[in-house]
C-alpha cells in the first residue's frame, strides 16, 4: 500500500500529500503522524497539498481529523499550497476546514507556526503572572 511520508524539518513535521487519498492511506497517515509527533516532540505540523487537484469532503474531513489529533498532542497544524481553483471549489462546496490554519506555502506556514508558538508561550507566562492585574495583563488574558 502507498504511504504518505512524514519528514522532520527543523522544529516541524512536513507531510506532503502526493497520492489520491483513500481510507487506508488516510488512517495510516494519522497513525504515522501522531507517532512522529510524540517521538519528536514538535509543536507544529505542515501539510502540503500543492499536488492535490481537488479537495472533497473526504479529504477535508481527513485534514480536520489530523489537525484535531495533532492539537491533542500539543502540535498546531497548518495546511499549505492550496491551489486557487481548489479554494474556490471548497468555499462553494461549503467545506469549512475546522481548526485548520492555512498559509500560501511551506515557508509562510513555518513562520505562522513559529509565531503561534511564541504567542502561546507568551500567554502561558501571562497566566503565571495572574497576580498582577494591570491593564496589559488583562488584555493578554482576554
Amino acid at each position: 500500500m502507498e504511504r504518505v511520508p512524514v519528514l522532520k524539518i527543523g522544529d516541524f513535521l512536513l507531510v506532503s500529500i502526493q497520492v489520491d487519498m483513500e481510507d487506508q492511506i488516510a488512517l495510516q497517515l494519522q497513525e504515522d503522524l501522531s507517532a512522529r509527533i510524540v517521538e519528536t516532540g514538535v509543536h507544529g505540523v505542515i501539510i502540503d497539498i500543492t499536488a492535490l487537484d481537488i479537495v472533497d469532503s473526504f479529504v477535508g474531513r481527513m485534514l480536520s481529523t489530523i489537525a484535531a489529533i495533532s492539537k491533542v498532542l500539543d502540535a498546531e497544524t497548518v495546511v499549505v499550497g492550496m491551489r486557487p481553483a481548489v479554494a474556490i471549489t471548497l468555499v462553494e462546496l461549503g467545506l469549512s476546514l475546522n481548526g485548520i490554519r492555512t498559509a500560501l506555502n511551506v515557508e509562510r506556514g513555518m513562520e505562522l507556526l513559529a509565531r503561534a508558538r511564541e504567542d502561546e508561550l507568551f500567554l502561558d507566562l501571562g497566566d503565571d503572572d495572574s497576580a498582577e492585574t494591570d491593564s496589559d495583563g488583562a488584555a493578554v488574558r482576554s
Partner: protein, 139 residues
C-alpha cells in the same frame, strides 16, 4: 431523460470500491479537459463527481457512473449519471440540506455537489435506488 442536447456514447465505471471513486474522478477530469471546461469548472465538476461517487459507494452500496459529452448546439458539456440500487432517499428535502447526514460524513455531498454543477437532477425510490444526473457546461 428530459435533458436538452445530444450526447455521444458515454463511458461507464462500476463503483464498488475506493479505487473506483478515484477512477470516476480521473475519467471526469479527462472528459472535462476534452470539452475545454475552464480549470475552475473542471475542479468543481471533478469535486462534485468525487462526492457523488462516494455517496453511491457508501449510501447506495455501490453502483455506477456514466460520463458523457453533451452538445446543446451552442455549448458542449459533461454529463454524469450516478445510479445505485440502494435503499433510496426517504426525505429528499432533508437530504439536500447543508449539514444533514445519515452517515458519518459532513452532510455536504448532495447539497454541496448541487452548487458545483449547472444542472442537477435526482430520482429516488425508497427500496429501489437513486439516480443522480449532473451536467456542467463550457462557458
Amino acid at each position: 431523460m428530459g435533458f436538452a442536447g445530444a450526447a455521444d456514447a458515454g463511458e461507464t465505471i462500476v463503483i464498488s470500491s475506493d479505487e473506483d471513486v478515484v477512477r470516476v474522478r480521473q475519467l471526469t477530469r479527462t472528459v472535462a479537459v476534452r470539452v475545454k471546461l475552464s480549470l475552475v469548472d473542471q475542479t468543481k465538476l471533478v469535486t462534485a463527481a468525487s462526492e457523488l461517487a462516494r455517496n453511491t459507494l457508501v449510501y447506495g452500496g455501490g453502483g455506477s457512473a456514466e460520463v458523457t459529452v453533451v452538445d446543446s448546439g451552442r455549448r458542449r458539456g459533461v454529463r454524469i449519471v450516478f445510479s445505485d440500487q440502494g435503499p433510496g432517499i426517504a426525505d429528499l428535502d432533508l437530504a439536500l440540506t447543508d449539514g444533514w447526514t445519515s452517515g458519518g460524513g459532513l452532510g455536504l455531498g448532495l447539497s454541496g455537489s448541487r452548487r458545483l454543477v449547472d444542472e442537477f437532477d435526482i430520482q429516488t425510490v425508497v427500496g429501489e435506488g437513486t439516480r443522480i444526473t449532473v451536467t456542467k457546461w463550457s462557458r
